[in-house]
Symmetry: C2
Subunit: 206 residues, 2 copies
């Protein structure tokens, strides 16, 4: 298998982190330079269908994009440590939290960065401060929800580290590009974030 | 089990459609009136954790929000007809397409409606035409990708109807609130959309 990935980009980092937690070493990494548009070439689009990284090319030629779909597929091949849930009920709770962390934290912070960081103007086309602000405010509302939740939960979605923690940490780390830091009164969030960032697998793709 | 749902709202409709395809009849429906803020009451927030519909309350008291997580959980209890994939590879392809349809079609069209429909001003707080336009343009780019894909695929993610078709159809149907219609030259999209709308289960929650 081959993983098309981009160093430092947030969605590829989610997959690299999943692979590092599981010790996956037999997937070939193919670096795609999105800053010079390598994800927009006809060859890449023909292979993946959309101009996005990451993408996982299976040995039968099927190519999967979307970082969480790739992560779940890798879990079917490398089950331990479990990151997506051991039974249907736990899978549902983890998927619920993963989606909350994507839709209300990681995606808004990503849009904030894309619409406010000078170096990303070329990638984005038109940057709009209204979109940057609207998304930051939405993410900050969810950070307060998450901080209350983490007051009596060690991790976001289960009694152990899961894909939801990866998605949330990568989202907050990406926001460091615009020097964003969560409000200092969110002490539970800070405790959890420090623990996630300290994991050995956290440096993969970062 | 109980499903907290709102008539005509798009995300609850996804779950109602999944239930109708599978003939699920033993889930109690609890109507939540979001136009008067019933999803924001302390009781509802305490139960679900976030002010969102739909939410599925299990018999053990666990409550799952996020429509796609609920749908996947229901598939574990009611496997047929299969909507989420029969093996890991098919599940990955269906999840990939479902996410593409959410992120690049349904969510942008939902934001377009929420930021442009006069009746939704109270629900949204501040409506911004920049956000409405930006999201409509993004959705229209993906509709062209989808139209090309549907030229030689009967359905979006497999050789049969799946959750990806539900997510995309519900997204396009919600946009009818602002009288939006896909461009008439997208003939493959129109063929597929007509077939999805004609399914008996399509009226559930619509």
């Amino acid at each position: 298998m081959k993983l098309y990935t981009s160093h430092r980009a947030p969605n590829p980092r989610r997959v690299r982190w999943v692979m590092a937690e599981k010790g996956v070493e037999d997937v070939e990494l193919v670096e795609v330079d999105i800053m010079v548009g390598e994800h927009k070439t006809p060859e890449y689009r023909a292979r993946v269908g959309v101009p996005h990284v990451p993408a996982l090319e299976l040995d039968d030629g099927t190519t999967i994009s979307e970082s969480v779909a790739i992560g779940r597929y890798l879990e079917s091949l490398y089950p331990e440590p479990n990151l997506f849930g051991r039974d249907a009920r736990e899978q549902a709770v983890i998927e619920m939290w993963t989606r909350r962390c994507e839709f209300y934290l990681a995606n808004p912070m990503m849009l904030n960065v894309r619409h406010s960081h000078p170096a990303l103007a070329a990638l984005e086309g038109t940057q709009m401060s209204e979109i940057a602000d609207y998304n930051r405010l939405g993410a900050e509302r969810f950070m307060r929800t998450l901080d209350r939740h983490l007051a009596d939960h060690a991790f976001i979605a289960a009694d152990r580290f899961t894909i939801a923690d990866i998605v949330a940490t990568v989202g907050l780390d990406f926001a460091r590009l615009v020097k964003y830091r969560p409000s200092e009164d969110l002490t539970n969030l800070a405790r959890w974030l420090g623990e996630c960032r300290a994991r050995p697998a956290a440096t993969a793709g970062a």
